[in-house]
Symmetry: C2
Subunit: 167 residues, 2 copies
DNA sequence: TATTGTTATACTCTATAACTATA
DNA sequence: TATAGTTATAGAGTATAACAATA
């Protein structure tokens, strides 16, 4: 199971089982690896609530801007409209959101948060805080702000919807 | 198609179609989003070569530490051993790597880079450089170093194999 | 019996596109 | 005809586990 059982590594060779320095020095490689890792961890954590990160993001969006139609929610979150149906079904089933027909256009549904939905949002936020503490443990507040700043600039450069509204 | 066709948004409401500020201020959310985005872009770019990012990482690993056995390559790269078989099949088929039986343990294969493999590595690196330029465009050199530093510290905190060997 | 490499299988996630009801 | 929501299908990517050869 050890990497060099017969001690035949070349003298001065790279540390056992370490990833290539070429990869470790590549910000894109780290970004990709860490990105999928956080996603996996988040799914894992949310799983115990019976929901997933997408359920949370839907609730978070609904809390900010009310009177959302399904299409706008899906587009904003870059979710497939078909996928969103399933998410809303889950949420509605647990009384966290409500769908109401739009009287002006009976094709549309107007989706809104319920009080239970707001309470669930608090639970989700607590999960995320714990997860952030775990994942960003080696970074102090200044580091986290610096990281967020760079990530935010990258994201908003490729997609204006990621621009943070100035306070 | 527009988000507010009837102009009924509350006064002072959040910008149209913008993601919730709660999400935009969350480093984990951005990390996850950007991470899957880079991965997707990388796959897309590598696709034109007939290979994928994993083929590249295998070649990069083989160039650094020679005489690798398949199990060690898979473990180091955190790849499924079954998946690695397919990757090596592809690479060997194009003459980029060679598999040779280990005489001391005939269950094992010793995998090594061929000259063609080294040349392909140059091509892959060029693709990655372009991709980094595109993806990290809004960041100057200092920003990129700062980003790499934080990502590197996070990664090595959770997995020692991500520690960069001191020069 | 345990391990290396291989192959086959199953499962998850997501993207595509057909379908309905309204407009 | 076009659009909102729904449903069903198919595909990629990945994980699980059975398998043959060797130790």
């Amino acid at each position: 199971m050890t990497a060099d059982p017969d001690g035949m590594n070349p003298v001065g060779g790279s540390p056992v089982d370490c990833l290539p320095a070429e990869l470790l020095a590549n910000p894109l490689f780290l970004l990709g690896r860490l990105g999928v890792a956080v996603k996996a961890r988040a799914i894992e954590e949310f799983d115990r609530t019976g929901f997933g990160p997408y359920h949370y993001s839907v609730l978070a969006l609904l809390e900010e801007g009310a009177r959302e139609t399904q299409a706008s929610v899906a587009d904003t979150l870059e979710l497939d409209r078909g996928t969103l149906v399933g998410l809303l079904d889950d949420l509605e089933e647990h009384g966290l959101v409500e769908r109401a027909r739009d009287r002006n256009d009976r094709r549309r549904y107007v989706v809104g948060l319920t009080p239970a939905g707001r309470r669930q949002l608090v639970v989700f936020r607590a999960i995320l805080e714990r997860l952030e503490e775990e994942f960003l443990a080696p970074l102090d507040e200044a580091d986290r702000a610096a990281l967020l700043d760079r990530l935010s600039r990258i994201a908003s450069h490729h997609d204006p919807r990621f621009s943070r509204p100035r306070l």
